[in-house]
Amino acid sequence: SASGDGQGGRVFAAPSARRLARELGVNIAAVDGSGPGGRVTESDVRAAAESDDASDDGTD
């Protein structure tokens, strides 16, 4: 997936998904996107928040 750090800091997710990630304390750059091209969706963010991997405990 093209998302994540390293490529000019680009994150491929809508602002609404990024805001949700901040609210849930999820590091969106570490989420694998299921959307077209690897875009991170709101449900990807929610799924990541349930699992521990991408969560940074809200201390961003």
């Binding site: 997936s1 390293g6 680009r10 994150v11 491929f12 809508a14 990024r18 805001r19 609210e23 077209p36």
Partner: protein, 474 residues
């Protein structure tokens, strides 16, 4: 507490009422915080009073006159006369309406407005200094501060602004007559916008620039379209020339420049506009008192929450670094206010569009092809020439293009460069696309209204996919 020496308290002290500061103040007020906004000069800052708005007002008004005078091919015969003083008065009216609006909006959000210069007096204390007479000083205790003191034009040694012969952009936007001739030092966006205006108003403009083309930072083919249009208007360019000195000569002045071999050239003119860039304003603040100092470029460094090294002090806008643009200032101002209010806001914008209001305009967002390659993407480029766009022809425009840069693997749109009439508006769709993580296909498959310039945006994306209709696909 004695009379004339008042202490008040506030949740958020915002210093400077430009688009960074006043937006921070309004948002903080909306979020229920007690906000004090201090401005030493004029609400709206550089942007509304001496920058974006005055320049765009004069550009647009000038175009109304110039376009009509240059349209015989369309069957229009006109020889418009321009009264610059009246045009500037009209521009002042626009500015007054907008700055009055800012004041009203601040009040409606419950922001306390204070006139004067704010300087830090301690970690949580600032003093309001009023000009001249000893009216006593006011002290403000604050929980959080937002520094939004903006920037000022850089002076070239030997070319101190005098408002008469050596002008900054601010003074060039308030002349009461069109000079017969003008040397413009610097072909950055401000120099190019104003050169175009004055040349169109009938002034003989000579541009001297140290680098080898206009608009450093823009790609060659983007800059070329703007340079060639300016040349066609009669602007005289001299590249590789550094401003050296000037002296009075007859009714006007002689500006001396030096090239890299030390050769001197001389340019006579009535006035000289120096537009070589802007530098952050931090010397009005007594920064040490709050425990801050600027970095080596003079900016206050901030993190993704717009926070400085001092946890309760934020910095937004031109004072906080590049890109020095009004909409960046406002976006940062909003984030600072929201962070202070405890919201999970962050400066994680993927797309910061920028526009240059030359003829034609430029709009850019995100990455160029080179930048995409450097960032590790596999760039695929799509382009659509304006001369193949019906709407452009109906506007009698043929120069320019829309270019988009995508990632071949994922299909994501990474950036765009537009040189076209209304490029400043066309870039909005592309900025949304980049910000949302759209793919080239998403933009190409969206129906674009006919006949519009925006169709070129859709076609450039289709071209990147080998599917454009109105241009050959590579």
């Amino acid at each position: 507490m004695v009379v004339g020496d008042v202490t008040t308290g506030t949740d958020v002290l915002v210093i400077g009422a430009g688009p960074g500061g006043y937006v921070a103040a309004i948002r903080a007020g909306q979020l229920g915080l007690d906000v004090t906004l201090v401005e030493r000069d004029a609400y709206g800052g550089t942007c509304l009073n001496y920058g974006c708005i005055p320049s765009k007002a004069l550009i647009s008004a000038t175009d109304v006159a110039h376009d009509a005078g240059d349209a015989e091919e369309m069957g229009i015969y006109a020889d418009p006369a321009v009264d610059l003083q009246r045009m500037v008065e009209w521009k002042d009216g626009v500015v007054d309406q907008l700055t009055g609006g800012v004041e009203k909006l601040c009040k409606a959000s419950g922001v306390n407005l204070v006139e004067g210069r704010a300087e830090f007096a301690g970690e949580h204390t600032a003093r309001i200094v009023h000009g001249g007479e000893g009216q006593g000083s006011e002290t403000i205790e604050f929980e959080h501060a937002v520094v939004s003191t903006g920037s000022r034009p850089i002076e070239v040694p030997g070319f101190e602004f005098d408002g008469e012969q050596i002008l900054s952009s601010r003074e060039a936007l308030a002349l009461d007559a069109v000079p017969a001739s003008m040397v413009v030092v610097g072909a950055g966006y401000i120099g190019m916008e104003l050169s175009t205006v004055y040349q169109k108003l009938g002034c003989d403009v000579t541009v001297v620039e140290m680098l080898d083309d206009v608009l450093p930072g823009y790609e060659d083919d983007v800059a070329r379209v703007v340079r060639e249009r300016a040349e066609a208007l009669g602007v005289d360019f001299h590249f590789g020339q550094a401003a050296d000195s000037w002296e009075e000569a007859g009714d006007g002045i002689t500006v001396r420049t030096e090239d890299e071999d030390g050769e001197i050239a001389e340019f006579g003119a009535e006035k000289c506009l120096v537009a070589v860039g802007r530098q952050p304003v931090t010397d009005t603040l007594n920064l040490e008192a709050v425990g801050l100092e600027p970095n080596e470029d003079g900016f206050l460094e901030t993190d993704h929450e717009a926070r400085t090294d001092v946890e309760h002090v934020f910095a937004v806008g031109d004072v906080a670094g590049e890109p020095m643009l009004a909409h960046t200032a406002s976006a940062e101002g909003e984030v600072a206010a929201e962070v202070v209010a405890g919201e999970p806001a962050a400066l994680d914008h993927q797309a910061i569009p920028a526009a240059v209001f030359t003829d034609p305009e430029i709009g850019t967002v995100g990455m160029t092809e080179d930048e995409a390659a450097e960032a590790g993407f596999d760039p695929v480029v799509g382009q659509f020439p304006l001369r193949a766009n019906g709407r452009a022809l109906t506007l009698d425009e043929r120069d320019g293009f829309v270019r988009v840069v995508g990632d071949d693997d994922s299909g994501f749109l990474l950036g765009a460069q537009v040189v076209a009439p209304e490029a400043s508006e066309l870039i909005a769709e592309l900025a949304l696309a980049v910000e949302m993580g759209a793919q080239l296909e998403d933009v190409a498959a969206t129906i674009h209204t006919h006949p519009t310039l925006s169709e070129a945006v859709g076609e450039a994306c289709a071209n990147a996919l080998g599917e454009a209709i109105h241009t050959l696909n590579r």
